[in-house]
């Protein structure tokens, strides 16, 4: 049961990453690899500030701002200096590695005994259910604080999902979406596409840095290598969500990215659970994702066939 709760919690924390990648990948149509640097940037800024004694909420907000700046930088390199989007991301990601080392002053910052946003959630659990250490769910006992942490992360992700939805439905957000769809058309409407891309990437990386900040506080440390591979997982989440939700309008795509991230982590959890050779973990994970994407299609086809026979 702890594994299930843990998988959903991690899935939701990384859903913020998926939302960020949704913006760069689905709105602006390129895979922004800045993500791997900005996730670590968020983690390292929040961890260093918390260790230095700042309020964890403030630290998380500064981490968000740090990601915003990193993303804006990628956008500026891409638009003002006309460097290929992928390469701009690579440049900023590479630079961020050194910056993250400088922010932390070392390669790894532990947060074991510090008060973090997650400890706030634990306090919330104590306040909501004084005296209850464990709860019972489907006959399994689980620590009450894990449930509250899960619920709190869910609320945070929902809030950011709604903000994104409202933002992209506004006139400004619609212009931003149109920038990704048809630059010439929207430029003819008098929109500055360059600043749209810069701002879009900034928002995207702000979300990713937030994801990193929450992840670091959840797992109790920030490490300079924690961003490696994150772009790929984020892309996978966005695509899984898209494939499994039948409606393709904006709201569904946003919720799809969130669900996709949760499904992805659940699949990893199953792969961990079935007790195979540890070297095969990623192979099995890839296989599961494949099955999750293909199975609904096969079922649908069979259903249609049986209807034809009737």
């Amino acid at each position: 049961m702890s594994l299930l709760i843990g998988a959903v919690t991690i899935g939701l924390i990384l859903a913020l990453l998926a939302l960020g990648i949704f913006i760069s990948f689905r709105i602006f149509n390129f895979a922004d690899i800045t993500a791997e640097g900005s996730l670590t940037l968020g983690a390292s800024i929040s961890a260093s500030m918390i260790v230095a004694g700042f309020n964890p909420l403030l630290a998380t907000l500064v981490a968000l701002a740090g990601g915003f700046i990193a993303g804006a930088l990628t956008g500026i390199i891409h638009t003002k200096f006309e460097i290929n989007g992928l390469l701009s991301g690579i440049l900023v990601m590479t630079a961020l590695y050194s910056i993250n080392l400088h922010v932390m002053g070392k390669s790894n910052v532990p947060l074991m005994s510090e008060s973090t946003v997650i400890t706030y959630f634990e306090d919330l659990a104590k306040w909501l259910m004084p005296g209850t250490e464990t709860m019972s769910l489907f006959g399994n006992s689980i620590p009450a604080k894990d449930i509250i942490i899960l619920a709190s992360v869910f609320v945070i992700v929902s809030i950011f999902g709604v903000i994104l939805y409202v933002f992209f439905k506004s006139n400004f957000g619609t212009a931003m979406r149109a920038t990704g769809n048809n630059q010439q058309m929207i430029r003819a409407q008098g929109v500055n596409t360059k600043s749209m891309i810069i701002l879009g990437l900034a928002v995207s990386n702000a979300l990713i840095a937030l994801s990193g900040a929450v992840l670091a506080q959840f797992q109790g440390f920030a490490d300079v290598q924690m961003g490696i591979g994150m772009l790929v997982w984020g892309l996978a989440s966005v695509i899984i969500g898209e494939a499994l939700i039948s409606d393709k309008s904006l709201g569904f795509l946003i919720t799809g990215a969130i669900f996709g991230s949760v499904i992805f982590r659940l699949l990893v959890a199953v792969a961990l659970r079935i007790g195979m050779n540890p070297n095969d973990l990623k192979l099995i994970t890839a296989l599961f994702v494949f099955i999750a994407l293909v199975l609904p299609k096969i079922l649908k086809k069979n259903k249609m066939k049986s209807m034809e026979i009737k």
Partner: protein
């Protein structure tokens, strides 16, 4: 009104149907496996080993753990079960592995390297945790000192043997008064290693001169700068930046007729005269020794952290000859000495 509300609700959730069903299926699979797992309670001891990535260090220490259990008379799958989990470098998966441990409640958890130790220290509060291949468990946050640490965590530190290094410098080169190293200020382990070397060198009346580097391109210049300061010997410490370029450092030192001593076994074949290297296989064996004390009823809170008990000394006589260095006879007589040809 109720009916239309229900209809609206159904219409709203319809596109999510597929995804919700899939989530429900996966969740029940996890719970089902959990249930069956908990039923199969046996007398076997259940151990879990959590690793962060695939590296020679993690493989050597894992083999050490398996060999250690065997030499203590325990047979795999008969007396104990060892489940090996490797996050393959993915930090989110690492967190799930720790959750799986909390879920399964094995008798004991082995950990190699720092990130899994930190993830475990955050979440595992009741199951004993024994780590190994962690250079500095104090910096990692596992305790305040080797004696005063998290109550369920103990293990083996593999910090370099600086005391031993200084001892061998004074024995092999009795006239040495100044030693040098390149270090990387951006890495906590590098700064730590440098200050440890400095501490033991000063105790022996030897001065340490250092040159900082921030990127791999600067290493050639840094090595030249260090060589121009004419230390009697370069004792190159371990960090991620310089260890990848140790061949460059050794070559420049050789051009300037300064011998190099090192801390990683591969430096020996590259021309380091003497290497004092921690034995990572032994680190696994040592971890098993602590683990069995816990299994036999000792409280991990009462077991202090230890340094790995075995250190290898690698000698390169050919390299030594180019500097006119001859090793004292007592070195050849030691048990853990390896001669590089």
């Amino acid at each position: 009104m109720n009916k239309s509300f229900l209809k609206g609700l159904i219409r709203f959730f319809r596109p999510y149907l597929k995804i919700l069903v899939i989530i429900a299926v996966i969740a029940s699979v996890i719970l089902l496996i959990d249930k069956n797992r908990n039923k199969s309670e046996t007398l076997k001891k259940r151990f879990v080993l959590i690793q962060y990535n695939d590296s020679p260090l993690s493989e050597l220490s894992m083999q050490g753990i398996i060999d250690g259990l065997q030499t203590n008379g325990l047979v795999r799958d008969k007396d104990y079960e060892l489940k090996v989990s490797n996050a393959q470098g993915d930090i989110a998966t690492l967190n799930l592995m720790v959750d799986a441990v909390v879920n399964d409640k094995p008798n004991l958890v082995f950990i190699t390297s720092t990130p899994p130790l930190q993830a475990a220290a955050q979440k595992i509060k009741t199951i004993p945790v024994v780590f190994t291949v962690v250079a500095d468990p104090i910096v990692a946050g596992a305790g305040k000192s080797f004696q005063d640490h998290l109550p369920n965590v103990t293990g083996i530190s593999t910090l370099g043997d600086y005391e031993g290094m200084v001892k061998w410098v004074t024995k092999v080169l009795p006239s040495a008064r100044v030693i040098g190293t390149i270090f990387s200020p951006g890495e906590s382990n590098s700064v730590k290693n440098m200050s440890e070397l400095k501490k033991y060198a000063e105790l022996a009346g030897i001065k340490l001169i250092t040159v900082p580097v921030n990127s791999s391109q600067e290493i050639t210049d840094a090595a030249l700068a260090l060589a121009s300061k004419q230390p009697d010997v370069i004792c190159q410490i371990v960090d991620n930046l310089t260890s990848a370029s140790s061949a460059t450092i050794i070559k420049i030192a050789k051009d300037n007729k300064i011998p190099v001593f090192g801390f990683v076994s591969d430096q020996s074949a590259k021309g380091a005269v003497l290497v004092v290297s921690r034995d990572y296989h032994q680190a696994g064996v040592d971890a098993v020794r602590l683990a069995l004390r816990i299994i036999n009823g000792e409280n991990p809170a009462q077991i202090p952290f230890e340094f790995v008990s075995k250190t290898n000394i690698l000698l390169n006589p050919a390299a030594a000859a180019t500097y006119g260095i001859s090793f004292p006879a007592e070195l050849y007589g030691l048990k853990d000495v390896i001669i590089t040809k």
